[in-house]
């Protein structure tokens, strides 16, 4: 008589395991698709949130790189008890240039005149556009760019020519400089020679038009007392410069001088968007959890419905472990498929949104891998209980007709 030792154990090829795990999914496609969709939505939400926030942060960082974080804005303070309201001293710009680490300085001065499309437009309809007198260095100091035409230069400082900020150009209805457009400033015509792109570090200037300092003085009697001075400094010494600016600009009343760093606002924007990212990631995680519960639910139902298959497999020689591994694999396939589909969907959403916003596409590789791993873990957790339940079913109970 043979002994137990000579009995060759039941064995299944891993490939067969995968094949039989798909039988249940293939025979109930709609249900499998829907429960995988639950996981896919959660994963897609998380990947898209990560991708979009990464792309937007990359965009902010690249615009900070481009615009520089070393710009300081110097203004006369406003409000109760702050200064005489007469702006900065006329010497301020020259004094500020003398600070060693200051690389460039430019100023804008408000001109007491209105700008209109023609002389027929009533003077009260200014469209909120200001006229500013400035020096040719402003565009370089701000690292602003022209949308069309050219900027002011020294040789033409006394001529009636004007450059429009982006919003000002839009409100005046001027889209390019090709037609030799004229605008009515004060009581004479100025020809438009250029239009600026939006100035990210000084959005106020988008609603302004710029004329040379000399023509401003000749035509409108504008004094050289600057409204705002923009400074470019050595990036490593910006804090030191910031400390000495008030006393240098207005030695008599340093408290009335306001100094700000416009790039701080962009950085704050980046920080604010990352706070939203955490919130949305949390929502994505909740969606993923709900998806996991869906998979667990489908697997529990599958075990109930497929009792006879479990019984048959035990009769054909499957061990308890074979049965549990089969159902666990099925759960992993469900959630893994959902995870991969969700990651692809999330990446596609990221790419689509980035293209729409004109950003560089940044698909978060770590996020994608993490999301797929998370979906597989969720499948494992969701499949564990149904798989154990399937394995613990006695073959005679499983085969008994219900």
């Amino acid at each position: 008589m043979s002994t137990a030792a000579s009995l060759e154990p039941s064995a299944v090829h891993p490939g067969d395991l995968l094949r039989i795990a798909t039988v249940g999914l293939r025979s109930r496609r709609l249900r499998a698709t829907l429960s995988a969709l639950g996981i896919a939505i959660g994963i897609a939400a998380m990947v898209a949130v990560l991708g979009i926030s990464e792309s937007s942060r990359a965009e902010l960082i690249s615009s900070l790189d481009r615009l520089g974080t070393n710009l300081l804005t110097v203004q006369a303070g406003s409000g109760f008890g702050l200064g005489s309201g007469e702006g900065l001293p006329t010497t301020a710009e020259a004094m500020l240039r003398r600070i060693q680490p200051v690389e460039a300085a430019s100023s804008v001065t408000v001109v007491e005149a209105t700008v209109r499309r023609t002389d027929l437009v009533p003077p009260t309809r200014t469209g909120g556009i200001t006229v500013q007198a400035t020096d040719p260095g402003l565009i370089g100091t701000l690292r602003a760019e022209l949308a069309d035409g050219e900027w002011l230069d020294d040789t033409r400082a006394g001529l009636p020519i004007v450059v429009l900020g982006s919003v000002a150009a839009e409100r005046l209805g001027i889209t390019d400089v090709a037609d030799g457009n004229l605008v009515w400033i004060g009581d004479r015509w100025f020809s438009v020679i250029g239009i600026l792109q939006p100035v990210e570090l000084a959005p106020d200037l988008d609603r302004a038009v710029f004329i040379g300092e000399k023509v401003a003085e000749d035509e409108f009697g504008t004094t050289a007392s600057p409204g705002t001075i923009y400074l470019r400094t050595d990036p490593d010494l910006i804090d030191d410069v910031r400390d000495v600016v008030p006393a240098t600009a207005n030695p008599a009343e340093p408290d009335t001088v306001e100094v700000s760093r416009p790039s701080d606002a962009l950085e704050a924007k980046a920080a604010a968007s990352s706070a939203f990212t955490s919130l949305f990631l949390g929502l994505g995680a909740v969606a993923l959890l709900v998806g996991g519960v869906g998979v667990a639910n489908v697997m529990v139902i599958a075990v109930l419905e497929r009792r006879s298959e479990i019984g048959l497999r035990r009769a054909l020689g499957a061990t308890r472990r074979h049965v549990s591994v089969q159902f666990l694999t099925e759960a992993l396939l469900l959630s893994g498929t959902g995870g991969v589909a969700g990651a692809l969907l999330g990446a596609a959403v990221t790419a689509g949104y980035s293209v729409l916003r004109g950003w560089e596409i940044r698909v978060p590789v770590a996020g994608v891998i993490g999301a797929i791993v998370a979906s597989i873990l969720i499948g494992a957790v969701a499949g564990l209980y149904p798989a154990r339940r399937a394995a613990s079913l006695s073959p005679t109970d499983a085969l008994r007709p219900v």
Binding site: A4, L7, S27, E309, L312, R313, A315, R321, T396
Partner: protein, 226 residues
């Protein structure tokens, strides 16, 4: 196949006895019927012979193995290699072709898929379904389905095939052809034990073991073991 003094009760208060001192020997190459009315204990007997359940006391030897000495996993291995099952409800998996359903009879034997399919095709030819290899079971008639199930039970060349009411879901014409198939398979060497409540079917088989209230009432063969 040898059963000696098999006693089986189901737990409860008081426990329900279902089999009493059943002793039975089936020799290789036999075609036998276990016949009895419902509730007589024949299904429990099938489960014990098929190692799907263990007796409360007594010994069961299948293909030379004492099942009491085998672990749960060993019993699975024993079923994979030595026992074939045919069920009244067929238990074929839809979404898989006939040949893959039969090949599943060898799924837990460790053979490769290609080898299993070759053997499955042969088994289907043996039961007269060589022309239905790639059909989905749902597209087959009842008789054909049961032939697929029989092929699945035979494909591993088990020591014994246990057929539980194999004609229970079939019309009389299909039943006859299934019985004829079992006869011809027996003639080519298979050991087959048919469990049925139908005395007419039992009467057509060479040996009849009649069971009532958990005891063997009569055995047409003189080989009753005591």
């Amino acid at each position: 196949m040898l059963l000696r003094d098999v006693y089986k009760e189901y737990p409860g208060d008081p426990p329900t006895p279902v089999l009493h001192e059943v002793s039975l020997a089936v020799q290789p190459g036999e075609l036998a019927a276990v016949v009895g009315p419902s509730g007589s204990g024949k299904s429990t007997l099938l489960n014990i012979i098929g190692t799907l359940d263990r007796p409360t006391s007594g010994s069961v030897h299948i293909a030379g193995y004492d099942t009491a000495e085998l672990s749960d996993d060993d019993l699975s291995a024993l079923r994979a290699r030595e026992i074939g099952f045919v069920f009244q409800q067929f238990f074929l998996l839809s979404g898989m072709t006939a040949v893959d359903n039969v090949a599943d009879g060898l799924l837990y034997s460790g053979l490769s898929l290609a080898e299993r399919r070759i053997r499955a095709s042969k088994a289907l030819e043996e039961v007269g379904l060589g022309h239905r290899l790639n059909h989905d079971p749902s597209k087959l008639s009842g008789g054909e389905r049961q032939r697929v199930a029989i092929a699945r039970a035979l494909v591993g060349k088990p020591s014994v095939v246990l057929a539980d009411e194999p004609t229970g879901n079939l019309d009389s014409h299909s039943s006859e052809s299934i019985l004829a198939l079992l006869h011809s398979l027996n003639e080519t060497g298979s050991t087959i034990l048919v469990i049925t409540h139908d005395r007419e079917i039992a009467a057509a088989l060479p040996r009849r073991i009649s069971i009532l209230d958990g005891r063997i009432e009569s055995d047409s063969s003189a080989e009753l073991v005591r």
